[in-house]
Amino acid sequence: MEMKTVDSNIHLDVEAIRLNFPILTKKVNGQTLVYFDNGATVQKPIAVIDAINDYYSHYNANIHRGVHTLSREATELFEQARQTVAAHFRVVNPQQCIFTAGTTDGINMIAQGLAKSILKPGDEILLTAYEHHSNILPWQLWAHENGGVLKVIPLLSNHSLDIDSISTLITAKTKVIAVTQVSNTLGLITPLEPLLKLAKQHGIITVIDGAQAAPHLPVDLTALNPDFFVCSAHKMYGPTGIGLLYMREQWLKTLPMAKTGGGTIKTVSFEKTEYAEGALRFEPGTPHIAGAVGFAAALKFMNAVGVSNIYQHETELVNEAQHQLLQLPEVEIYGQSEHKAGVISFNLKNAHPFDVGTLLDKYGIAVRTGHHCTQPLMQLLGIQGTVRASFAVYNTKAEVHHFIEKLKRVIHLLA
């Protein structure tokens, strides 16, 4: 892949990077697309599109157990993809990297597995006030069915997490802390280190929802060492329908499977089954092979650019947007901070986010409006929803300025 990165510490050649994304030249409502809905899903570079195309054109076969050449090649590609994912997240044993359908799938697998083994009635699970529904509902389902309790780490007045409250929330019954690494609505980064340290002291299982962190930040799972970590490829320049479930090595053998089927076994009789070891135990059925191949291509793209460079570039965009938005008295920003990952959430006073999003779309600017699957957070903030602009590596300061100019028009139209 041609990837020109100029001075890896400061400047990315964003114009060169943009050439990798065919969709960015698309016209929307007669205007050049400005895509600021990257928190929902990120656009795909040619390298990813080509990798998937290439897989289906030249290697497609079902994997594992096939004796023929194509099956062996497809299996190799799939397992290479696992190694690429492991290397990206600094995981020593690739078997700890399980392919899932995505973050939601991963959290459900963890919650169901723990519900079958560790969790008992009366046990408590600690979440944050800004969790995505996907990291609430699987736990809530268990709690409702089994008499469990969900406890919520509150936010401070600046909307950041009240880390000091955690030690008072932890009890002898706290079994799991499940937190997002980055709030999908506010973009705020959860301070994981103190949280993981506390969890370790109390022997609490840790689940990190990395869906919004992995696209923006370098994630070193060996250093973080949580029990579980999940993310989705499609938010990381990869295809939809595939994600990562990382688990600490001990869980590979002890976490009960949420689902089972072909591919997960060593031997089967009608009386009993001996299950496979490692990642395969959690990957029943034919996996999303092309997805895994595309995921690996996406990670190669991210690493060619440099994840730290991506973070730095996006942070510049967030800070620029935040700075410009603060000049507008009509704007209210939620989770105002310089320690954010790629996301800025705001409202126009006296305007519904739906109206703002509808008008921005007429100018070819794609933002997300609504509750962002964080209704408990919306209730806490006392609002129906927000307008969320979220950035990726291909976004530019010029786009941010264009967005601000058009937002001023929107303010005028709605005044």
């Binding site: 109206d355 007429k362 028009r409 139209l413």
Partner: protein, 139 residues
Amino acid sequence: MEIREIENEIIEEFELFGDDWEQKYEHLIDLGRSLPLIAEQYKTESNIIQGCQSRVWLNARYQDGKLVFTADSDAIITKGMVALMIRLLSYQTPEAIIKAPLEFINKIGLKEHLSPTRANGLVSMIKRMKQEAVQHLAK
């Protein structure tokens, strides 16, 4: 006025703006602002039409053989669309409401508001208006 006549009136009104979508939306927003407020007592849970994003409240009453609608929305653009629908279907007979083709939305270039992904409650509102008409005929 018959529904068809009102539709033509709205189409003519929007033709003034040509391709200038900003003017068109300014007009839509003005229409939303001029929509008579629904009485607070009718902004009930049972009158709420939940879109994913903006909410619409719709109240229907039957008067002299005709259905009278009042409505509101928390989003002003949705409210503009609501105002157009009320102008068209309120004080009409149930038979006329059921038969109303509502092609004007396409002709004034606001078809996108009827797309299911808009999630603005408008499609559900039109459905509810027609349902009210059907229910009154069945009585």
